[in-house]
Symmetry: C2
Subunit: 217 residues, 2 copies
DNA sequence: GTCTATAGTGAGATAGAC
DNA sequence: GTCTATCTCACTATAGAC
């Protein structure tokens, strides 16, 4: 990480970005000092101010630019039409892939909202709402068409997003599971959740299982 | 919050606890200053050191004592026997109730693990593993008995816990939803997820629904 | 148990030479 | 664009009177 002379520019910018992501993910924004950050990049602490006006602006830039990337990528991935199950599958596949690919950014976007100053927070929350809505719309469409059985679309939205976003807390590229296995499994679980058929009372006993099956036909 | 004279003792201790929970939830451990904490309690900053040796110990006490409470409460709530669906239902009901009742502690236990020093972290992670295992065992039992259809018990465990723990990020006592409604809805979603029947390919069309129902009988 | 006062440290941010 | 040097401030933690 050390550096030789008075060089660089855009290379430094990218290095600061990556080091910042790493440090904030590990220790949190408040606990990360600019001295640490500079050391990791291999420059002096004062030099950082050629790249941002202050620490808060650095955080906001990280979060905002990531949210923009996320939106742009989602736009590409969403199906314009198709059954709700197909659209939901596509959404989950995208979400999982993105969360695995860019887990640090994603994690920070959830965990460091509290560290944003009010004005900056407002901007980010608006983008976030927009994203949640994409999922809500799919669930709502499925509920109306009868493909999905959901007691509450809002809660289902939050539940699914929490479940998917949790992936970036435990997924490790060198772990037991491949990206594909995770994607497949979560797609299955989310679809099962959405398609429901689970009245808590309905399924435990075999007798009830029969009733349910009959109702479905 | 202000106080009158040189009084108190255990009352102060409880006040510090509550103020700490609130501040850490809102701003995070690293961003909370002991001056803030003292001000919220209505004492001077130096007086805090009658209640802990340093800031880290305060955090660790909060987290550890909460984990102990959680384990004790879970012990009471778990069913010793019954079908996997019944046991899972009970687990979810407990989990939701607890997360709603003590959302600050729960949130901190997830979000401030990073702020624990290595030794303290080790202790907490062990307790956490133990808790996850309670859920894994239920899912595994259900998978073996054929009640549940799960591609991967470990991922299902993590998915369910993430989904449930997410509740403390958005639930508001004065909001649209009652505790009971949340509990019922999440129980339903978790059971649906566990009981599966969701090969991504299998369920969109009604034709496949029939096959599924037939197989279940 | 609480207060006031302060030691000692490390933080974010700025100034000016190269 | 980077460096060195430094300002200013807030923080954790301690000491000692009441």
């Amino acid at each position: 990480m050390a550096r030789i002379a008075g060089s660089s520019g855009p290379r430094t910018e990218e290095a600061i970005r990556r080091a910042g992501l790493s440090l904030i993910t590990t220790h949190g924004y408040a606990a990360m000092s600019l001295r640490q950050l500079a050391a990791m990049v291999g420059i002096q602490q004062g030099s950082l101010y050629n790249y941002f006006r202050n620490k808060q602006e650095f955080l906001f830039d990280l979060i905002r630019s990531h949210m923009q990337d996320l939106h742009a990528a989602l736009e590409q991935a969403l199906l314009p039409e198709g059954s709700a199950a197909e659209r939901l599958t596509r959404f989950v596949e995208f979400h999982v892939a993105y969360h695995i690919e860019r887990s640090q950014e994603v994690f920070i976007c959830y965990s460091e909202l509290r560290s944003l100053e009010p004005e900056n927070l407002t901007a980010v929350v608006a983008m976030r709402r927009d994203y949640e809505r994409r999922l809500s719309d799919i669930l709502e469409a499925g509920r109306e068409s009868g493909e999905f059985r959901l007691a509450d679309v809002r809660m289902a939205t939050l539940a699914i997003l929490a479940m998917l976003s949790g992936i970036c807390n435990w997924y490790r590229p060198d772990g037991r599971l491949s990206k594909e296995a995770v994607s497949r499994t979560f797609t299955g679980m989310v679809l099962a959740l959405a398609q429901g058929g689970a009245d808590p009372a309905a399924l435990p006993q075999p007798a009830n299982l029969n009733r349910l099956a009959a109702r479905r036909q």
